[in-house]
Symmetry: D3
Subunit: 68 residues, 6 copies
């Protein structure tokens, strides 16, 4: 009965289909590697506003501008 | 000074009144069982979009259809 | 299928019996107030070393000395 | 490569500028005190609806009224 | 730069090799499905004492006895 | 009443003194930037076993060897 929390920045191209694939793929890993029961495996995705996600001491939008 | 994080799927019938009852009930448990001070007990409720909560390898809406 | 995370400081009198009561009490709240299924309700207790838990800008042991 | 999660109640005066200062300030602490690399230091701010944040056994808006 | 937190009960057969496979597998999912950069993808595994993980209103060891 | 969770890899040189400085420094940021009350500001530090912290698809010890 694992609990998995995936935290990512909110992006326009994170579609419901892709989120479903993330849920399926991570559940598969826990089933295959650790023998967990998928029916009691929770995978929760948090999509975080980019201005609330800091890296390098600055919010993500600033960070991305610097990387260019 | 406990910190409690309750994560549930977002449902139309999770009213402010029910959330207040969850906060009160959980705080009571920590006060009565562990002798914690309620004034420094935080209970934070996260209501997660159903398509972001996976179980059984699929998002919750798909899971619920399968259980019927 | 709620997920609840209880974080408390590590204390010598937090016995397994008391932790079981916390698990039972919190699960009861979610069942009674929100109608959740207890069999898919997880309650995870994290006991945090006191020197790793800060409040008032200082670790808990220092904080407690100040409160006396 | 630290991960820092800051959880606060949602307030009208938590501007993007202040959030950027929180990200910068916390990153600085980890760089200066622990020698961490800022480029792999994540600071994620969660702004929680006040009715979902309980303290003293009640939601924050009720709590604040009582403190007056 | 995703952050993934995997929480599982502490089990004697969760070897370092298996944990490395979980890290690799989950990172792969995020790279392939969401196009994330693996070098800034963190996967943190928390192994929780069984008596601290509740399900069905009881600690895991009690729960497992009931399932037999 | 903010809650801050700092997650770092377990390192031999993360002394209690440095952890106290992290708690003090982060609390100061929240007090100065957001006007929070330090007495209800929690800063919890989780020191994670290096083999349980993955980056680049591998556990931290492997990652560090590759960076040399």
């Amino acid at each position: 009965m694992p609990y998995v929390n995936v935290r990512i920045t909110k992006e326009p191209d994170t579609t419901p289909e892709k989120k479903a694939q993330v849920i399926e793929g991570i559940t598969d890993v826990l089933v295959k590697v650790l023998g967990k029961n998928p029916n009691t495996t929770f995978v929760i995705i948090d999509e975080v506003e980019q201005e609330n996600w800091g890296v390098g001491g600055v919010p993500t939008p600033v960070w991305r501008t610097r990387q260019k």
